[in-house]
Amino acid sequence: MTLYILRRLAAGVMLALVILLIVFLLISSSFDDTARTMLGQGATPESTAALVEARGWDRPVIVQYVEWIWHAVQGDLGQSAFTSLPVRSAVVDRLAVTLSLIVPALLITAILSVLLGVWAASHGGVIDRFAQGISLVGHIFPALLLAIGLVVLFGVELGWLPATGYVRFGDDTLGWLRSITIPVIVLVIPGVANMSAQVRGRMIDELNRDYVRTLRTRGISSRSIVYKHALRNAGSPALTVMSLEFIQMFGAALIIENVFALPGFGSYAFNASLQGDIPVILGISVFGVALVTVVHLVTDILNGWLNPKARVH
């Protein structure tokens, strides 16, 4: 098992190296633009060249790449070209904000989707139609629309929840809870729409399998068949859907962070990219790949737990 995790992590590192190289190559054309943007209106060809040289951006890309990796291995991801803030701690701070949205959103999505999906699949009829209706509604209203609507309603008109801003968990737990409530709702609704439909489908498939009939013929209760046997077998595909949902939420978080003025990972990446803040872009790429690798790894391990056939020996 340890070996397996190590092997997977090694593969993740390889992947990160390749992706970084790609990012380096793609970005290498914009060093001058970045320098000019940094210098602002006083930029001249001379001062631009001087800055590029001072930053070491005039050296061959491969040299910079190797050097960057060398520093990264030592835990130093450099500093933002614009804010001089250390990239690592900035990314970690921003990631913490985004994760504090996404993780609760994902958990809630998972719980609601499983409940809804399982109910729909095992009750049929009205409950099933209700669940499918919810899924449809979630598909029709884009996250964007929901975000705007909920802010106006709860934040501005009713004033129940803060319209903007982020409170750190450690500072004020209740405040944190209030500050993430609307964003989490906005993430959860489309998530549930998608995932509950998937869970429902998987559950229906499972409930039609032969072993379910055989279990029934042994007098095993419907509850055990649905919640113990079918759910566990439906669990592993649902888990994969969930891991994809997790990655997708990072994209959605970008828009949500923008609307709610949250200092998250997405908006950080967005700003860095707009400015051409090269060290930050690189740091974000590394964290992005690391995150996805870890999510896939965790998914696979959980999958192994759910599904003995997928278990690693």
């Binding site: 970005i27 049929g124 884009p142 629309l145 055989t214 042994r218 095993i220 419907s222 997708q248 896939h296």
Partner: protein, 604 residues
Amino acid sequence: MSTSDDPTTQTVRTHSTEHVITAGADASQRTPTWKKVIRDPQAAITIGLLAAIFLIGALTPLIAPHGPNDADLSMVNAPVGTSGYLLGGDESGRDIFSRLLHSINTAAISALIGTTVALIVGVTGGLVGGYFNRATQSITEWTFALLMTLPGVLLLIILMPVTGGDYRATMFVFGFLLAPGIYRIVRNLVLGVKNELYVDAARVSGLGNVRILGRHVLSIVRGPIIIAAAFMAGSAIAVQSGLAFLGVGSTEIPSFGAMISSGFRNLYVAPAQFLWPSLLLGVITASLVLLGNALRDTLEGSKPKAKKVGAGQRVVADVERDGPTDPDALLVIRDLGIAYPGVDGAPNEVVRGVNLSLAPGDVLGLVGESGSGKTQTAFSTLGVLPSEAVITGGSIRFDGRELLGLDDTSMAALRGSAIAYIPQEPMSNLDPSFRVGSQLVEGLRAATSMPRKDAKARVIALLDRCGIVDPQRTFDAYPHEISGGMAQRVLIAGAVASRPKLLIADEPTTALDVTVQAEILDLLRDLQHELGMAVLLVTHNFGVVADICDRIAVMKEGEIVENGAAEEIFGAPRHEYTRMLLGSILDEDAVRTDPPAAVKGVAS
């Protein structure tokens, strides 16, 4: 690679879980796919809606009253209904209605580029990765895993310096990010199809790889691809809108996202402005998702419907509870009818007027060819008919008690304890996620409410009794870790664990090798003697019947044509159908005697 020589699978695959033949099925099967799609209301409505929207988009240059960027400063935030400005003007004095129309085209182009790139890359990758050798497979797999690992939207944003924010370039890149989804679908289908016998047959017919890929593989992949394309188009449009909302790319390009963004900024001045693009965007993406779902249902055959678990069997006729009882019989089935809804909705009876009687300790063989209704009869006795099935009449009496009309809880109490079941296909009848032992213990405890420890001891003893060499090890094994023959022994142990009065065995040996079959039959016979169970053995194999049954009932097309003691029927079959069946048996005398044929045609 051969699948049939894989030691874990069985060579023989019979289709004895009977197919319910539905009347008029032939006609509907030949309907062209597109007609079927059009006939589905959900597909028809969404296609119509999308066609209408995109047609309007295409006609925009003709019907839009203004250009997308024509600005009139006097029309800034003009209210809805202003002359010439149907939906009013935006913050720059542009006509919202015209921009809306132009945005349709942007959405269409986004969807087109994203989907096309994804399809080209994904399908090519999937065909190559699925069809060719291992090295090619691992390279494509790795490449697409790489694409998959890139956090999509983040990447699009990081790449802004490269794409320049141009939405077409962005969608081009996005296509690559969508491609792994298609790749997965295609590769899995190809891997499946590659081992399909008809692809082997094509290879044997001398078709080259390209021709096979194009002709046999692609045709199978087509349906799922069309479905995936609908979903991808939706997500391409949604992503393009999201990026435009954030302000990536030129605002000269009219798009829903840019319009929503502008409306959001103007939320307090003209709250309706962000509504129009949001609504249209919502309608388009929702239509694509719904269309995808509808296509999935029509092209892949509709998925089974959700139904209440434990709802019990449906009985539409009055059951005579007080009919005459036969005190000697354990199971009496009288005049049983079972129907399934046909294509046109009318019920289609698959079992008609079946009468059976089984005394305690008796072994009855229910024999027939596929589709004869024998399995349906067995299921109805267990109370596990599929939910579509309807019992149209008759009575099933077990131990003097009428089973038809009992709710599932009462049936569940009987099942496992008094009536047990052995299925045909051993592997698919074990829950793959639970250890063999725990499944058996759960069943035993459900039937007897025995303490866990005792139940475990009993199960291990039973496994031992059923001829499993290392019972503890099998107890702790997962189903995929044991062979088919062993799995069948496990299932038998599970069935007899609670010492039932009646054992219903549905083709219990059909999936097994002959030598294993003989052992299993021995086991069944011994257990039957030991426990004094009555056995209802459903089979198509007269050899099996001859080996174990006291009495035989022969079924044909839902009816019992002949019923009697085994010796009588084998010795002097009365019904013509029975005679025909017995005549078809390739017995030991049917040795080929004619010499090898003379070679004709081309001499070697």
